[in-house]
């Protein structure tokens, strides 16, 4: 079946502009995650959505970052007034939650470059 998709695959923006990144999870997956990966580093957790529960936003680095999810469907991550340190690959993942286990399936990511 179709995997997690993300768009755009690449985004170049000027400092100070807003960007919106999109994630389409695997159909039926109730959990959705956003991560950020800076060059040569591991993944940083940003935000977690699970069903109709309140999202866990504890990983968002500043109030310039926000995310929404429509039901158990598409999610958008918005970065306002982008800064150069926001340059990174933004990865989305989705999963079923079975027995407390979150085996996550990742999308290809969006590479964001802020100039």
């Amino acid at each position: 079946g179709a995997g997690v998709s993300q768009s755009p695959s690449n985004k170049v923006t000027e400092k100070g502009k807003d960007v919106e990144l999109r994630c389409d999870p695997i159909s039926g997956h109730t959990a959705l995650y956003w991560y950020r990966q800076r060059l040569g580093q591991g993944l940083e957790f940003l935000i977690y959505f699970q069903g109709n529960s309140a999202p866990d936003k504890s990983g968002l680095p500043s109030d310039r970052f926000s995310a929404e999810r429509t039901g158990e469907s598409v999610s958008t991550l918005t970065i306002q007034r982008t800064q150069q340190e926001d340059s990174a690959v933004y990865l989305c993942a989705s999963s079923l939650v079975v027995g407390g286990t979150h085996e996550q399936y990742f999308g290809p990511g969006t590479r964001l470059t802020v100039t």
Partner: protein
């Protein structure tokens, strides 16, 4: 903060050789997962090992887990050029859904 830390940071081997990388973590975990990342993009899930398991196999992959030492190892046997990638371990501290990733081990398989 990163809970898992992989060792070594980079590994270069000849095709056909085995590759071993290690992961250490700090807190109690529910399970530990290994992922592969090609060209800095999407991660592919390789294998999940639960805290009550000691060893698991999947094809050419062998994962061990030692909860007393808070460490895991990933062995890739009979490596191929296509195994060239970065490998990450990820842990869920106490069953938390927030996976903590290390910085990864970059493996280069020479033909």
């Amino acid at each position: 903060s990163q809970q898992g830390e992989e060792d070594p940071q980079a590994l270069s081997i000849q095709e056909g050789e085995n590759a071993t990388m290690n992961c250490s973590y700090k807190t109690s975990i529910n399970n530990l997962q290994w992922y592969r990342q090609n060209s800095g993009r999407g991660l592919v899930h390789l294998i999940l090992i639960r805290s009550n398991e000691r060893e698991k196999h999947s094809g050419r992959l062998r994962v061990t887990l030692d909860t007393s030492k808070k460490s895991s190892s990933l062995l890739i046997t009979a490596s191929r050029a296509a195994d060239t990638a970065s490998y990450f371990c990820a842990t869920d501290a106490n069953g938390d859904y927030k996976l903590s990733f290390g910085a990864g081990t970059t493996v280069t398989v020479r033909a």
